[in-house]
Subunit: 149 residues, 2 copies
DNA sequence: ATAATTCACTTGCATATTGCAAGTAACAAC
DNA sequence: GTTGTTACTTGCAATATGCAAGTGAATTAT
C-alpha cells in the first residue's frame, strides 16, 4: 500500500478516509476488534480472510501512524502487545455499520444474516446503536455474541 | 487490485464491501458522481487526485462488474459513455457521508469545511439527507453547489 | 540453569499491481 | 478527406503483495 509521505493526494474527506484506512485489510482489523474483541497480533492473524504476517504488521503500523489504533504492552506477557481503538478509531464504527447494512442487502450469502438484530438496530438508528457499541468496545467487549441468531 | 475470481475471501459484510469498492480509487469515482455530477471517463480523469488512465478504466470496469455502476452510450456523441450509479451504488451514499463526517472531524484541513451545512445535515440524520440526495443523484444533479459556503 | 516452544514480527524473493508515457481505434469537427 | 478528441490499451519500470523461512525476545517445560 502507498506509504504515507506526509502529503495526501487531496484534503477531500473521501480521499482522507481512503488514505487512512482504505485498503483491503485495514478495516478488517477494526472489524475484528469491534465484532470479535480481538486485541493481539496473533488473534488478528486468525481471520477467515487469511492475513499475511508482513501485511498484518504493515497495516497495524499504518493504523497506528494514522491515529486510529494504539498499541501498549501486555500486562503480564512481554512477548505480546495489545492493540485497541483510539477515539478516532472508535468513530469509524458508524461507517463499519453502514458497510454491514449495505452488504446485508446486496450479498445474498452474507454472514450479516447471523446478526440480524444488530442489522435492524443499525437500520433503525445507526448513530444511536453506534454510541452504545462504542462504549462496549471501550470496555473491551466483543459485540457479536450478543447479537448471534 | 485483486481481480475478482468469483470467490470472495469471505462473506463477512465488511469484507464484501472491501472487495466491491475497497481500494484507494473506487470510492472517488462515486464521490465525483454524487458531489460533482460527473458522468464521463474524461470528467473522472480530471480529479485533484490524478487518476492514471489504466487505473480509472480498471476501476470503472470493476464497479460495473460489481453492479455498483452502469454504463450506457452517450445520446449524441458515439465516442463517449455515460456512467451512473445503480440502486446498489446509490445505496453507498450513507457510507460516503459517514466518511465525510469522520474526515471533517479528524482532518483539520478538510475540504468538508466548504460544505458545512451538508455536514451538519449528515450528523443530524444521515439516513434522511441520504434519501434526499439519492433522489438528486438519480436526476443527475451534483450536490456540492447547493451546499458550498 | 537450560532447552523447547511461543509470539511478533522481518527477510528474501517471486508474483501481481500500479502508474507513466506513448500509442490506437472510433468518432466528431471542419 | 484531414485533424482533433475521447476512451481507452499497451509496454515497461517501480512498487506492493504475500509465501515460506528465519529471528529475537519472552514464556514455559524440564
Amino acid at each position: 500500500m502507498k506509504k504515507r509521505t506526509n502529503k495526501l493526494r487531496s484534503h477531500c474527506p473521501v480521499n482522507y478516509g481512503l488514505e487512512a484506512f482504505g485498503d483491503r485489510w485495514a478495516l478488517l482489523i477494526l472489524r475484528d476488534i469491534v465484532f470479535r474483541g480481538k486485541r493481539t497480533y496473533g488473534e488478528f492473524l486468525k481471520s477467515e480472510e487469511g492475513f499475511a504476517t508482513n501485511i498484518l504488521a504493515s497495516r497495524l503500523d499504518h493504523l497506528i501512524e494514522n491515529g486510529i489504533l494504539q498499541r501498549e504492552g501486555h500486562e503480564t506477557d512481554g512477548r505480546k502487545d495489545i492493540y485497541s481503538l483510539t477515539e478516532k478509531g472508535l468513530d469509524l464504527i458508524p461507517l463499519l455499520f453502514e458497510m454491514v447494512l449495505w452488504s446485508a442487502k446486496y450479498d445474498s450469502r452474507s454472514e450479516a444474516g447471523r446478526i440480524i438484530r444488530l442489522v435492524e438496530l443499525i437500520r433503525k438508528d445507526n448513530r444511536k446503536i453506534s454510541e452504545k457499541v462504542i462504549e462496549q468496545v471501550k470496555r473491551g467487549e466483543a459485540i457479536v455474541p450478543e447479537y448471534l441468531s
